[in-house]
Symmetry: C2
Subunit: 211 residues, 2 copies
Amino acid sequence: MKAKKVGKIREHNSQKILLAAEQEFVKHGYKGTSMQVIADAADLPKANVLYYFKSKGALYAAVLTDILERWNEVLDELSEDDDPAETLARYIEVKVDLSISFPSASKIFAMEIIQGAPHLQDHLRTDMRRWVKDKSRIIESWISQGKMASVDPEHLIFMIWSCTQHYADFETQVLTVSNKQEYDSEDVQAIKNFLCHMILAGCGLEVPKEN
Amino acid sequence: MKAKKVGKIREHNSQKILLAAEQEFVKHGYKGTSMQVIADAADLPKANVLYYFKSKGALYAAVLTDILERWNEVLDELSEDDDPAETLARYIEVKVDLSISFPSASKIFAMEIIQGAPHLQDHLRTDMRRWVKDKSRIIESWISQGKMASVDPEHLIFMIWSCTQHYADFETQVLTVSNKQEYDSEDVQAIKNFLCHMILAGCGLEVPKEN
DNA sequence: GTCTATACAAGGATAGAC
DNA sequence: GTCTATCCTTGTATAGAC
């Protein structure tokens, strides 16, 4: 009974800390963020944060793991028999939604990569490389089936990533240049329409009507 | 005579510091980088760095100014009478070359934006917004002249930026996933071909033969 | 003009009181 | 299980010797 109650507190506090850490790490990167500001943002004493997570590095690793889990849920099932236009359009739209909904996640991931991926090299070399190879094979089979134009599958994947994540990572730039406070639902739809049109056109495909 | 000689030393050391600062800021961001590591990288005593640049903030500002100056040299003259296919293709190619040649510049700029552009808000609100408006007007005139398909000019510009800078900012990801050590000249050509094909196709244009 | 020595604040982590 | 007090390192910046 007592252990259960304590477990709940632990769960609750850990979650609060993870959220606060994500908010703070995005502002000044891993090295530039102190445990003190994370503790303040989580409204807990500094030592408490270090009690739940053994070290600053461990906390950061936990944040990254959280982000990657959210990422990995997308486009995990994909087959040669799927329709390229529909599949690519849906993937682009989901990526845009993720970027708009969880910009901090995309930003922390981006900073980690920009700085040379010191905490994610293994993930890039194993999981992500395998993921890209898998999807590339499917795209190549679509091409040889004549379902779409012949374009380099890896570069296509990189392009989708860069264009969609741009609206999260470079949010500040996009909004400031466009003189907006935040994205509204019309903006999001316009982004999806634009990216689907451009990328599918490059693949010799038409944007599917429904959705 | 003496002042001239000293001026040369000053020039030389300032340049060394700026270069070292760029190399170091890119690894851990503004807050995460200490004056000590910059001084070590420049092979000068720490106090010497603070002698040439009044403060850490001033040094960082100088690095950003340097980067923006290199950026701004591109596509500054552009007219309604230019050919869209040729102009866009050349712009994409120059941006790719810049990304491959000066990845650190692109990365520092990216981190600054990701973190909310605390040191560049003015630049975004004034110079960059004006730049984007100017170019958008030209693109719109191309569209109404029937020279290219009707696409949103601002999103087109954002797309070119994101796709080209991706090869600098996400260098680590691209290279690791592709299992390469660095970009070779064939890679660079493949990137240019791919991006030109995709973006021009989306604009209803053909990639020009020569170049 | 250049660099050594130092002031003073803030960082991560831990020991031990509650 | 939670938090206060503290240790030691590192950070920016400057004063003053050379």
